[in-house]
């Protein structure tokens, strides 16, 4: 029971017809998919954190070994994965705040769907310039101006 957001086993019907469980939570649709995305982004972040603590621990070995491993993070391909990681963490953070609002705010359960689209919009507004600045250097490397 430590997750609040267990989806129902019944998926709401699609299309223009009204969902069978209209108004209730986590029966397919946005509520369930945000729950799925929350799990996936959480697991991804967990495994990255494991690797990240190990790579940072190299500062205790030698400056050279740390700098060698950190150099792999500066590769354009890994740089793309970093953007994916930031996107995953940002979604997890925003959706986590939404889950808290659903749990503790009296209007939260009723507005859960609207809140999802709000956090998706915030995510996009942050990620577009964020991805630009994160990939700027790699772009210059790949396309030759550096």
């Amino acid at each position: 029971m430590s997750t609040v957001t267990t989806p129902g086993s019944v998926t709401a019907s699609r299309g223009p017809s009204k969902p069978r469980f209209g108004g209730t939570l986590y029966r397919g649709r946005e509520g369930m998919w945000s729950w799925v995305a929350h799990r996936i982004t959480g697991v991804l972040t967990f495994f990255f954190l494991f690797a990240h603590v190990l790579d940072t621990a190299l500062v205790r070995v030698s400056p050279e070994s740390y700098d060698t491993v950190i150099a792999t993070y500066k590769n354009p391909f890994v740089n793309l994965m970093e953007i994916g990681l930031v996107g995953a963490v940002l979604f997890h953070a925003l959706n986590g705040l939404r889950v808290i609002a659903v749990d503790f705010w009296s209007k939260g359960p009723r507005l859960q769907r609207q809140m999802l689209w709000i956090i998706v919009a915030v995510w996009a507004v942050v990620m577009i310039p964020g991805a630009f600045f994160m990939f700027k250097h790699s772009f210059e490397v790949v396309f030759g101006s550096k």
């Binding site: 430590s2 603590v53 740390y66 500066k74 963490v89 953070a93 705040l97």
Partner: protein
């Protein structure tokens, strides 16, 4: 004669011997989650976006940051909260998807071992960092 049947809606016996661990775990996810929004998003912004992002990170950069107790405390808090938050998340996922008791037990043991190692290693590195290691 004593009543052998309890009155309807009397407190259930199964609550005896049970703890509130799951409640505290649930609450911890929310409290640590709010703190991590600030700690982790701040960390990601500084490390990946601000001032050249990941391209400027090297040993000297880390040494400069950990010269300040503020960032040491920031990173230590982030490490502990994120690792415990993630461990509890994975514990939930293991509980949800494993079918055999044995599988569940060993997956959780692997999880707890890995988490304890990460927390111990990370804490050790933050506390024993030496900028003049060479």
């Amino acid at each position: 004669m004593t009543n052998l049947l309890e009155a309807p809606r009397s407190p259930q016996r199964r609550t005896r011997g049970r703890t509130n661990t799951e409640l505290y775990a649930w609450l911890f996810m929310r409290v640590s989650g709010v703190l991590l929004v600030v700690l982790v998003l701040g960390h990601l912004f500084i490390m990946n976006i601000l001032d050249g992002g990941v391209q400027r990170i090297n040993f000297g950069f880390v040494a400069g940051r950990w010269a300040s107790p503020f960032w040491q405390v920031w990173d230590l808090l982030m490490l502990w909260l994120a690792q415990i938050h993630g461990t509890n998340g994975l514990r939930t996922i293991i509980n949800d998807y494993t079918r055999k008791d044995q599988t569940r037990f060993w997956l959780k043991m692997a999880l707890y071992t890995a988490s304890a190692l990460v927390i111990a290693l990370g804490t050790l590195v933050i506390f024993t960092f030496d900028p003049n290691i060479h």
